[in-house]
């Protein structure tokens, strides 16, 4: 009996000590520094409306928020430390896990960066580029669906979440067909693709587009233009343009504040210059420019633009860039990835904003692995603006603002 007890205590990996919580992530505001009317509310890290493991330290005066202090790092997986030890192609699965709801977009950005350093970015076959854009745009729609769906959940509408998850499921299945994985693909490789798109994918994708178009109309009328939704989100969490730029906010959040800035147009990377699409911006149609409604409106509009892009990609992929027996998507994939020694910053438009990768490459024997990879994560910047725009709002509106910024903690914490 005694030995049994001894064994069970030896197996304990972590002995719970309440004091450790205050040591590892102490409060910024001392409890003794609070005014008589102030109350300190802790939200998260395990809370459904913090979209992951974000913890907020909120100082309130009744219902009015005086200060918000985000605590991050609960999902830190040492991406940058891992990247220092891995060859360039083996980093791609880690890149997937940054923004796990838009992994294709992240892979695309990463692969483009390494290709530019290798100097092969001009030689990538057009068919490869179009497939990349096709899957990235599919994933962008899926990511926006998650954003709008969970946002609905945050502010009290449950049905759109289920509908959007159902529609996202179709996209996930398409991407599973392409790559074998539902969320973390490792599909876009440096210099090419893992595999050509499967036979029949184009036709199935046409069907999907046909299916999604009325669903987007429905989403617009039932959710975004809904009177209750408008009243809940209009003029809430107004993000002025100068503040957004100063905090480095990009993507739908920046465009919601009224700036037509999209890296797909500005940097004109990949085959985006050959494609027709508009960049929707927020105009304050329901309240003030840059409010929560504008940000969600921009996301829905972007889904429509993505569908336009997908249609054009499919047209090319079934037209002049048709499937060909001799086509090898791995033809240009280098056996050894050894970029010249340099510093390089590459960026692309993720579904949430500007995703950048900074590389420093080594020389000689160390050229196979990067010396340093730094991720300029869009969610990280979008979240950083939260304390600035949530001062003086109601506690319930904080959740509405938080959801409308659409961050993924996997990317914030890396």
């Amino acid at each position: 009996m005694e030995s049994k007890e001894k064994m069970s205590t030896e197996r304990i990996q972590y002995r719970y000590e309440p004091g450790n919580l205050y040591k590892s992530e102490p409060l910024v505001r001392e409890l003794s520094s609070l005014e008589p009317d102030e109350l300190l509310v802790n939200i998260g890290p395990q809370h459904p409306s913090t979209h992951g493991v974000l913890r907020l330290e909120v100082v309130t005066d009744g219902e009015i928020i005086k200060e918000v202090i985000p605590h991050m790092g609960y999902l830190h997986r040492c991406f940058e430390k891992h990247a220092e030890k891995l060859p360039f192609n083996q980093i791609i699965p880690f890149v997937d896990r940054l923004d796990y709801v838009a992994a294709m977009n992240s892979e695309h950005a990463y692969a483009m960066g390494v290709e530019k350093m290798l100097g092969i970015d001009q030689q990538i076959p057009k068919r490869v580029e179009y497939i990349r854009v096709l899957v990235a745009e599919l994933n962008r729609i899926a990511s926006h669906f998650v954003a709008i769906g969970t946002y609905g959940l945050d502010i009290g509408t449950f049905t759109p979440f289920l509908w959007l998850m159902r529609d996202r499921e179709h996209i996930n299945r398409m991407l599973e067909w392409v790559s074998g994985a539902r969320m973390l693909y490792n599909y876009i490789w440096i210099g090419g693709l893992y595999y050509d798109i499967p036979v029949g994918f184009e036709e199935q994708c046409q069907e999907l587009v046909k299916y999604l178009k009325p669903k987007l109309e429905e989403l617009q009328t039932i959710v975004v233009d809904n009177k209750i939704f408008v009243e809940r989100t209009a003029s809430i969490g107004v993000l002025p343009l100068d503040l957004a730029i100063s905090y480095g906010v990009t993507g739908p959040c920046l465009r919601g504040s009224g700036l037509r800035f999209d890296l797909r147009r500005v940097d004109a990377y990949s085959v985006y210059p050959e494609l027709e699409f508009d960049i929707p911006i927020g105009s304050g149609a329901m309240g003030k420019k840059g409010d929560c409604w504008d940000r969600n409106f921009v996301r829905v509009q972007e889904c429509r633009e993505s569908i336009k892009i997908i249609e054009q990609c499919l047209q090319r992929l079934t037209g002049d860039l048709k499937r060909d027996r001799s086509f090898d998507p791995q033809a240009l994939v280098p056996k050894k990835i050894r970029p010249k020694q340099q510093d390089f910053y590459c960026r692309a438009e993720n579904s949430k904003g500007e995703l950048g990768f900074f590389f420093r490459t080594g020389t000689g024997a160390g050229a196979d692995v990067p010396v340093r990879v730094k991720v300029r994560a869009c969610s990280f910047h979008n979240l950083s603006v939260l304390p600035a725009i949530s001062k003086g709002v109601m506690l319930a509106d904080l959740i509405a603002i938080l959801g409308s910024l659409d961050f993924v903690m996997g990317e914030v914490d890396r």
Binding site: Q13, Y14, R15, E17, N20, K23, S24, E25, P26, V28, M72, G73, H76, C78, E80, K81, E84, K116, M117, L243, I245, S246, Y247, G248, L259, F261, V266, K340, Q342, D343, F344, Y345, R347, E354, G356, F358, R360, V371, R372, K374, R376, F380, H381, S384, A388, D413, R414
Partner: protein, 161 residues
């Protein structure tokens, strides 16, 4: 403005002594400036009507290792209206890494500098809130330094496995 125009504008304004080196042989040219003049240079670059670098895209810290004894901080500036960019670099001693914070110029820098402090232990002077951002507050050491060795136990949990 391209890199050459920007460097000549900076030398005109601040004199020859500002630029310590410019690395132009690569795809993205870099400009190395003295760390103590960083704040005035960036403020100038932000305010000047023909530069107008309104965003700080990225801030990266790099440890060059104990042999070289230096750390680098690399700033990627970008101007939305002019669509031009500039890479600034500073080098600071590894034994006492400290540099002026840019969070007053771009608010983006605030969290980036906290991250650099978290992983490299670089002190950013006059930073409004310099705490660890991703690691727990009682973590020992700075993990992205080249000579980092992880602590053996953290709250009774074995770190190395």
């Amino acid at each position: 403005m391209n890199f050459g125009e920007l460097t000549s504008l900076l030398t005109e304004t601040f004199g020859e002594g500002l630029m310590l080196a410019s690395h132009t042989q690569h795809l993205q040219p870099q400009l190395q400036v003295a760390p103590e003049r960083l704040l005035e240079v960036t403020e100038f670059l932000k305010r000047h009507p023909s530069c107008y670098f309104d965003t700080l895209s990225c801030l990266t810290a790099i440890d060059n290792g104990p042999e070289k004894g230096t750390m680098e901080v690399i700033y990627h500036l970008y101007s939305i209206p002019f669509h031009h960019s500039l890479v600034l670099k500073i080098e600071i001693p590894r034994t006492e890494p400290r540099v002026e914070s840019l969070s007053a110029v771009w608010r983006t820098a605030e969290w980036h500098e906290r991250e650099a402090y978290d992983f490299f232990g670089i002190t950013f002077l006059h930073h409004p809130d310099l705490r660890r951002i991703l690691l727990p507050a009682d973590w020992e050491g700075f993990p992205l330094r080249k000579d980092y060795t992880e602590q053996e136990y953290y709250h009774g949990i074995k770190v190395r496995y």
